[in-house]
């Protein structure tokens, strides 16, 4: 496998329902994500872009095909066995931010590292470093409820990046934001991609995103077109 390939999907299919009512959310998709890519999965609602993102993120299993993440074949692993893969290799950014409401911004960012079992000093340094990069130092003591949507999404991005994952997956990250804040978030991701060579796969049908990113993979009826 080419070392620059971070994620490789081969003949991947995912079905919902049974018998005649069975629908192919993804139909024999083959798709590579290379190190440093910034890919937007575009398509209408129900086209399969979120499903593809879920399979890439190892939070769902395909019915057919092979998925290799950062050199590791995930085909034979169940979701619980995939937990370390998600922890080590994948960062998630969600549409609704999904921050833990009882934790401050700092604590939310710190959380994945605590579960990884790093020592306190390393955690502190790394969290402060990422909060600095994303301009969140002043907000680090705030709880999610005390921050704006844009700030919460920045914290979510910081949380996704803090473990230095092989790939960052963002599912409609601008959908809950106004267009200006949405554009800021996209610019931030682009900046991180360009400066830090962070691999990003983003699912969106937001024009703010589609206008800004050139590398667009369009999905329709479960197929890449």
């Amino acid at each position: 496998m080419n070392e620059s390939v971070v994620a490789k999907l081969t003949d991947v299919s995912k079905y919902y329902g049974n018998g005649e009512g069975r629908i192919a959310a993804l139909d024999n998709i083959s798709f590579n994500v290379k190190k440093g890519d910034f890919i937007v999965l575009a398509g209408l609602s129900g086209s399969g872009k979120s499903t593809l993102l879920h399979l890439l993120g190892c939070i769902d299993k395909p019915d057919k095909g092979q998925i290799i993440i950062d050199g590791q074949d995930t085909t034979m692993m169940n979701l619980e066995q995939l937990a370390p893969v998600r922890m080590e290799k994948i960062g998630f950014v969600f549409q609704s931010f999904n921050l833990v409401p009882v934790l401050t911004a700092y604590e939310n960012v710190e959380l994945p590292l605590l579960f990884k079992g790093l020592d306190r000093k390393k955690i502190k340094n790394r969290v402060n470093e990422i909060l600095d990069e994303l301009g969140l130092q002043e907000r680090k003591g705030h709880f999610p409820g005390e921050m704006s949507g844009g700030q919460q999404q920045r914290v979510a991005i910081a949380r996704a990046l803090v473990t230095s994952p092989a790939i960052v997956l963002a599912d409609e990250p601008t959908a809950n934001l106004d267009s200006k804040t949405g554009a800021d978030i996209v610019n931030l991701l682009v900046e991180l991609n360009e400066k830090k060579n962070i691999t990003v796969v983003l699912a969106s049908h937001d024009s703010v995103v589609l206008d800004r990113i050139k590398n667009i993979v369009t999905i329709k009826d479960g197929k890449i077109i």
Binding site: E80, A83, F92, N98, V102, E107
Partner: protein, 430 residues
Amino acid sequence: MNHFKLAVIAFRNLKRNSRRTIITVLVSSAGFAAIAIVGGYMEFTFFGLQEMTVCRGFTSSGGTGHIQIIRKDSVQKEEQYPLEYGIADYDKVQKSITGYDSNIKATIPRIEFTGLISNGEKSTSFLGMGVIPEKELMLMSYWDQIYKNLKNHSSQEMIYRKLALASPNAVLLGEGMAKALHAEEGSSLMLMGTTVDGAVNVVDVTVAGVINNSIKTVDKYYLVTSIETAQNLMQTDKVSKILLVLGNTKQTDGVLSVVSSKINSSGNNSEYSVIPWYKLAEYYHSVKDAYRIIFGFTGIIVVLIVFLSAANTMLMSTMERVREIGTLKAMGVSNRWISMMFLYEGFFIGLMSIAVGLMLKELFTFAINNANFEMPPPPGMSSTYFLKIYSGSHFLPWISLLLLLSTTCSGFLTLFKIRKLSIVNSLTHV
């Protein structure tokens, strides 16, 4: 993962859902207080039974004293005639025992005997006890020191005083027996019994008073007289046993080992058995066992309620935090760690419940102990008593542990729910 951090998350989640947390803690603490109060009542009952066994007893043999000394032969062999294996030189034995340990406050000789009592027209069998009234009063004064809740305890002391002041051939009759023989204070009766030689002997006695033995069935056959009258009837100078009265019932085992070793190492005295009160307390043990079963059963029900209440809280919490759980799972956090968070929540609920439960328990105990509730006589007894709740300190650590385990384990139930949650569905859960 840092357990401290997990505990912080758990605590903040409880704080966030403060109303639900308060309700759960109140239910659990009410359960804790209920078990603790029942435990305190049991402790009071056990203590009362223990001291009652020592001072008054539940048979015609009266109070057991703290320790009894009898001839080994009287246990091992069948007597051919009354008091064959009685203690002959009991004055000497008493004197030597008194010096064994400073915790021995009194020695009380007694004779147990049987026979017939008659008013000339009607005869009935009796279970008699020959005593030195002044010495028996020492056992009662011990009772007075430690147990002031029995409502009519003083009447028996008065009766024994009458026996002490009466002529040597005076008797106290159980209420039932006095009624059967139409006897009252001053009535003349006849005691018939077997002497140590096997002959029948008769002694004229005068009724000095009517005694209440606490147990109604025993009252029909119960009779107390002086040790001299009993010896006169049986034509002997022996006694059946010597009772030891200690400063405190807790000293029993300590004094027992001292007396056992000394009495059997002093040459001619190796013939004696030294028996603690609890080996003579069949009624005490049967009541204790019954109470333990009842208490255990009640405890199980209450713990179950606490468990279900805490489990409901945990599962509700899980339902409300589906998205949060899904996010943690998506981040690669294992089900075990997520469940651990809920275990901590259950643990904290348990800790808070214990603290509130202790306060509730103290409050109710104070109120009950100061209300002087008069309790009806226990089955088969005639004395009422005031309800008291003791600290229940023997039970508290166990109740606390049980409560903590119950609330913490309720957090464990979430593991099944968490394991079933689909990450994809939970991420979009509203």
